[in-house]
């Protein structure tokens, strides 16, 4: 079913409604780590006016026209609710711009890289986000110096320091 999500996202980008997109969150994390439990697929999107309250209404209309209807704050695509999140900071904009194009069962799918996934998780800072950072580190897809450097560039040096204090290198 994620293949259907990939087709939808590529069509969305081709239509010009979004300038870019990239999968992030647990679904993206699974590219690098073990499978993890998640309830939805999170997608960063670049929209013309992200501050507008109805910034996502055109996207919802586009999805509805293809039979993918809104469900709460997401759009249901098969089994998966897909949540669109306008790129809301320089970190998420950069994460989207530097995303990698992965191959998902023959369909190209833009996905946020491991370092940006880790730093986005660090910026959110809940226990499950710290678990994501640890899982990414353990998978070897990103290193502590890479996270430190990226975090510092986005004003998250203190957050990284706190993380290192709580989860020191063993």
């Amino acid at each position: 079913m994620v293949k259907a999500v990939a087709h939808l996202l590529n069509a969305l980008q081709s239509s010009g409604l979004v300038q870019g997109y990239a999968l992030f969150g647990p679904m993206a994390q699974m590219r690098y780590t073990e499978a993890v439990a998640t309830l939805d697929a999170d997608v960063l999107v670049a929209v013309a006016q992200p501050d507008r309250l109805d910034a996502l209404s055109d996207i919802y209309a586009f999805c509805a026209a293809r039979g993918y209807l809104p469900e709460g704050e997401a759009v249901r695509v098969g089994a998966w609710p897909v949540q669109f999140v306008p790129a809301f900071s320089t970190l998420t904009q950069e994460a989207m711009e530097l995303a990698e194009t992965a191959d998902f069962e023959g369909v190209p799918l833009r996905v946020v890289g491991a370092a940006h996934l880790a730093v986005i998780a660090l910026s959110v800072g809940r226990a499950k986000d710290f678990a994501r950072v640890l899982a990414l580190l353990e998978s070897g897809s990103v290193t502590r110096p890479e996270i430190e450097q990226l975090a510092a560039r986005h004003g998250l040096a203190a957050a990284w320091e706190r993380f290192e204090g709580r989860f020191p290198l063993e």
Partner: protein, 64 residues
């Protein structure tokens, strides 16, 4: 104790193989997990709702 150690060692050997699966395979693994979480949440909500007194009950005492 040695059984537990052996079990943990086997688990440690097994975990990297799960990580080595392809991304689509891992997403497929997550799909039934998602269903399980939803079912657990639903059953939790049902239990919580049945354990809570209704507004009428709390207002007027026990139902007759």
């Amino acid at each position: 104790m040695s059984d537990v150690k052996h079990l943990l060692e086997r688990q440690a050997q097994w975990q990297p193989t799960r990580q080595a699966l392809t991304w689509p395979e891992k997403v497929r693994m997550a799909e039934p997990e998602r269903e399980s979480i939803l079912q657990l949440r639903r059953s939790g909500q049902v239990e919580a709702a049945s354990a809570r007194p209704t507004r009428t009950q709390s207002h007027f005492g026990r139902p007759k």
